[in-house]
């Protein structure tokens, strides 16, 4: 799940202060689950903005509308008939959603209301932890289900480093050392030999924008429209 965090109110306020009519678009996908951008958060943010704008002479009209997911065209299409009434859109989706919203309405000014933070888990209510950096080449099979790319501050594939002490990271005592945990788990499972040999330098394939099409569907899209290529 993508975890996001609402931007400071002042920052959101500064972005939209020059507009008269603003639509705050929520996303009922990931950001709703991490309590950052669902319908409830849209209502809360709108209330907060209304209160903070009250002191100014011309306070803008801020309305809310939550779509199922901002990363799907089908759900964004619901906004088609309404956006014309507004000067600016505020999006409470993750970065992908904000961009897709802006792509859908290229004439609209679109602003993000949340900071997309990481791909992570819900440890408990309101408690999220990063677990994946979307590096594109998963090594969890070898590291016993603990990601060194995310959990190790130095992204070591042959850890732990010399700074590991008492099971925590040298960077921050509140972060467990990924490699100590990897070692413990693999030892307990009796597959320590997996990390006894040198892990060779790996390919970092997610370094250009990723686009992929499932092989079953490649025939559908492995063409470029003639008209399209001329654009």
């Amino acid at each position: 799940m993508i975890i996001a965090k609402i931007k400071p109110l002042e920052e959101v306020q500064a972005m939209i202060k020059d507009f008269k009519r603003i639509l705050n678009v929520g996303c009922a996908g990931c950001t709703a689950i991490c309590l950052a951008g669902g319908q409830k958060e849209v209502e809360t943010l709108n209330t907060k903005l209304a209160v903070s704008f009250k002191e100014e002479i011309t306070s803008p009209l801020i309305e809310g509308f939550t779509v199922e997911r901002q990363c799907e065209v089908q759900f964004l299409a619901e906004l088609d008939p309404m956006v014309e009434d507004y000067d600016a859109l505020l999006s409470m989706a993750c970065g992908a959603g904000v961009q897709f919203l802006a792509e859908r309405f290229p004439d609209m000014k679109v602003f993000p209301a949340v900071n997309t933070t990481f791909v992570g888990i819900n440890r408990d209510i309101g408690w999220y932890e990063e677990r994946c950096q979307c590096c594109g080449e998963c090594v969890l099979a070898i590291t016993g289900g603990i990601c060194p790319v995310t959990m190790c501050a130095k992204v070591l594939f042959n850890g732990p480093c010399g700074g590991s002490q008492d099971g925590h990271c040298e960077v921050d005592k509140n972060i467990p050392c990924a490699w100590v945990n990897i070692y413990k788990r693999l030892k307990a499972q009796g597959r320590l030999e997996q990390i006894l040999s040198v892990f060779p330098a790996r390919d970092w394939k997610n370094q250009t924008q990723g686009t992929f099409v499932l092989e079953e569907y490649q025939d559908r899209y492995s063409y470029k429209d003639k008209e399209g290529s001329q654009k």
């Binding site: 790996r202 390919d203 970092w204 394939k205 370094q207 250009t208």
Partner: protein
Amino acid sequence: MKSGSNLEKILAKSIFAVTGELGPPRGADLDAIREKAKHLKGMVDSVNITDNQTAVVRMASWAASLIAIQECLEPNYQMVCRDRNRIAMQSDILGAYTLGIRNMLCLSGDHQMFGDHPYSKKVFDIDSMQLISMVRKMRDDGRFLNGQEITKPPRMFIGAAANPFGDPHEFRVFRLAKKIAAGADFIQTQCIYNMNRFREFMKQANDMGLTEKIYILAGVTPMKSLGMARYMQKNVPGMDVPEEVIKRIEGVDKKKQASEGIKMCCEQIEEFKEMKGIAGVHLMAIEWEHRVPEIVEQAKLLPRPNPKDLE
């Protein structure tokens, strides 16, 4: 004087400058650099030492720069943002300056996908614009990027690149202005073949008053052959080779294509000498260092001023 480098002195004296280019070898090969340097000696005012160009592993730019100094060439130390974070960059700059490097060209760098290690991890900690302002901050404010003081600041003559042919055309000159604002002292442009567009670009730059704030060195690369021209037109990103150039090379006998390329290059240089706002040329004779003397002579750029006379 900002750095006191040869290039800076020449540019400050409004002498039409010539810079060359030298690509370090793919190996610990001292003689290869010396061989290349031999041809450039006395022909150019400063020579760009490329930093792993097209993302192919080569000898470190600072090391090759030092060898160039030993060969009595003034190096223009290139640094790309692809391979280093700000810590490595600042430390390299300190080291380079300490050992006598005075010019520096700040670039973003080609993406590693073009090179020989396509899936190496990119750094791009800061971009070329930020690198320029970082070097300027180190020189003028005597401070590192984080604001801490430097005991003895490196005084580099800061160069930057500009490509008048990239998209969107109308924005290119604004990007140039940004580089000037960031602190660049001189600009070396991408190889110019489309003279019309370049004239337009220079007119815009002149109109905006940018050329008074910065020295612009026009980039030229002589075409070696028709094949090279075609390759440049199709496969090199950001390169604009008009059809006329191809036709002109195509029009002559295969054996004469190289000399036609040089002739064309010299005609361009003649025009640059007269063009308002151009302070010199940057001659990128790619893997053709031995023809540089010929080109420089044909373009009537000789003799180059002796560094000692500039004092």
